[in-house]
Amino acid sequence: MDYRTVLTTCTHCGCGCNFYLEVLDGRVIGTIPCKTSPINEGKLCIKGWNVHEFIQSKKRLTQPLLRKNGELTEVSWDEALDFTARRLKEIKDAHGADSLAFLTSARVTNEENYLFQKFCRAAIGTNNVDHCARL
């Protein structure tokens, strides 16, 4: 039996409460609020208490999908990544950098947001990057 707790930050709202994810043999089984967090001081709301439930949901995507003959079909990472990079390049070459746009996310990390807008600005060459949080 392998049991561990990992301190992290809640992903369900902008409060950013801290808790420990409880992991038992590779499954996330619960959350324990962090008492020393300056935000939540040992408390969590109903969303934080249950945040572990979606992580290993059976509905998670586990394999890249590519549309073939109208259907989304499971493919290898190589095929999906090559397709994406190739199509981005073709469209940029044909219609210019400003014909592509990127929506970054309030749900991924700072590092990922940084990288995504850097890709958009430096690799593609457009400032067409926004996120849905205006909404």
Partner: protein, 538 residues
């Protein structure tokens, strides 16, 4: 965001969450805090316990309203009139802070002229709030020692969203309620890492740290940091992207972890736009309605499966730590972006998120002193420019980020769509306590989904009676843009003439109805107000 940045020089929450509990007057407007930000609400409860006064302005009788010293239900979209009315009273009674205005702000005379006309009587007529209540609100807030304003999307999701925010900034500055401990203006960010997405340059007009893309110095700085030629042209906002796709100037859209099919106004328009794309890439953890339209779907890892940082609504940068391996063949989003960039021909060589953070702190002045090592413990609140800087609890101490605080003289403008004979009900949207945004994550938590499983429409008992609607009845809701059916919830949380629906549920997606009219400055659609008609479904 655009509004506060224009007034103060920074769009972020001015104070920390914990400071709220030592405020002696908290004015909550357009935020159902107990539902959307429960652990901020906790601080408001504590402040109340310590004797603070609570002012709540919200069209719905939200939970905080039940413990408020004054709760007003102003007509939808009349925030500017309400706030101008308060400021009129404050000036007339001499409750303003002339010393603060003289020393720390500019533009006051123009504002004063506009406020002249907003007598409590006139404001009462527009807002439907009694003149007495407007005077009481003005008195409580202005006479406080440490007054705080808390607002959320109820303020920003209007065609007048930027005006609303600037008007709140005006109110804080005429009373000097800004730049001190427990005293300030606090926008609560909706989604968990909105603050971080903005800080990192996830916006069409700015690089990381809000450095304008149109400024040649910034362009030069990032061109050398990134070793690439950059564009000085401001990019498209979300809403402009959607119309760009529909009209064909835009050919490709790459969406990371977002679900505009549910979150955007006017779903039919979004669907048409996404289907028009020559290339739609969606990177997400679930096969969302948006992902179902994609040409390629890339399975990302959840927050439990990777390292990184989030920045919360009070500017606190905190660690996210990997607890398990990604499920199946999913991969962390940063790795996917790196792989695509390498294949595209722009090499990226990061081995860990920590390496990316090193680069972030080297190009982002406000994150300059942030390292993973220093984030152990409580995290750090930016601005944190150097590795010996302790971080910043509250902003605008002694001096605004932009130098002087700027007053904007703003007149009330009615919402883009108003009720009429054909569409006689005001329709407004929001969150419910158990869910978060489009429900991609929360609706896959069985415990949360069973708390509140389906969408519903809140209708005032008086209106329900008039329409022959009972609790649980199916009701057809239509606007100029679409029609949908929902279950009726009869409740006096809403006033007569107003109906409310949460937007988390795809089955009865409220955004089928809402209006895409945009705020002219920050391009936020008017999600909060539109006109509808109701019919009982036989």
């Amino acid at each position: 965001m655009a509004g506060l940045a224009a007034s103060f020089g920074s769009g972020a929450m001015t104070n920390s969450i914990a400071e709220l509990e030592d405020s002696d007057c908290i004015f909550i407007i357009g935020s159902n805090t107990t539902s959307s930000h429960p652990l901020v609400a906790t601080r408001i409860f504590r402040a109340k316990q310590k004797g603070a006064r609570l002012i709540v302005a919200d069209p719905r009788r939200i939970q905080l309203a039940t413990m408020a010293d004054v709760h007003v239900r102003h007509n939808l979209g009349t925030d500017v009139a309400l706030l101008n009315g308060m400021m009129h009273v404050i000036l007339k009674e001499g409750w303003h802070n002339q010393g603060f205005i003289d020393e720390r702000t500019e533009g006051f005379e123009d504002l004063k002229k506009v406020l002249d006309a907003y007598t409590p009587e006139k404001a009462a007529e527009i807002t439907g709030v009694s003149a007495d209540d407007i005077i009481k609100m003005a008195e409580y807030y202005a006479k406080a020692k440490a007054g705080s304003i808390v607002y959320c999307m109820g303020i920003t999701q209007h065609t007048t969203g930027v005006d609303n925010v600037k008007t709140l900034a005006n109110l804080s500055m005429i009373t000097g309620h800004i730049g001190r401990e427990s005293t300030g203006v606090n926008p609560l960010r909706g989604q968990n890492n909105v603050q971080g997405a903005c800080d990192m340059g996830g916006l069409p007009n700015v690089y990381p740290a809000y450095l304008a893309v149109t400024d040649p110095n910034n362009q030069k700085k990032f061109e050398s940091a990134w070793n690439a030629k950059l564009s000085d042209k401001v990019g498209l906002t979300v809403s402009e992207m959607m119309s760009g796709l529909s009209h064909g100037q835009l050919k490709a859209l790459y969406i990371l972890g977002e679900n505009p099919m549910v979150s955007d106004p006017d779903t039919a328009h979004v669907e048409k736009a996404l289907k028009a794309a020559e290339l739609l890439v969606v990177q997400d953890i679930f096969l969302t309605p948006t992902a179902q339209l994609a040409h390629v779907v890339l399975p990302g890892a959840s927050f439990a499966e990777k390292d990184g940082t989030f920045s919360n609504t009070e500017r606190r940068v905190m660690r996210v730590r990997k607890a398990i391996d990604p499920v199946g063949n999913a991969r962390p989003d940063w790795e996917i972006i790196k792989e695509i960039s390498n294949r595209f021909g722009y090499p990226m060589e990061y081995e860990t998120p920590e390496e990316i953070m090193k680069e972030i702190s080297s190009v982002t002045p406000s994150y300059g002193g942030i390292t993973y090592q220093r984030l152990e413990g409580e995290g750090l609140q930016w601005p944190c420019p150097t590795t010996d800087h302790p971080g910043t609890r509250f902003l605008h101490k002694d001096k605004f980020v932009r130098g002087k605080g700027l007053f904007y003289a703003i007149e009330f403008k009615p919402p883009a769509e108003v009720v009429d004979e054909e569409f006689p009900f005001w329709f407004t949207t929001g969150r419910v306590f158990a869910h978060y945004h489009t429900g991609t994550m929360t609706r896959n938590c069985p415990t949360l989904d069973s708390e509140i499983h389906e969408g519903f429409l809140e209708v005032n008992p008086g209106d329900a009676e008039g329409l022959g609607l009972r609790h649980g009845d199916a009701v057809s809701v239509s606007s100029r843009r679409g029609q949908m059916t929902a279950k009726t919830m009869v409740t006096d949380r809403v006033d007569k003439g107003v109906v409310f629906m949460p937007f988390h549920f795809i089955e009865s997606s409220a955004n089928v109805l809402t209006n895409t009219a945009l705020d002219p400055v920050c391009k936020i659609p008017e999600l909060k107000v539109c006109a509808v008609k109701l019919e009982k479904v036989a």
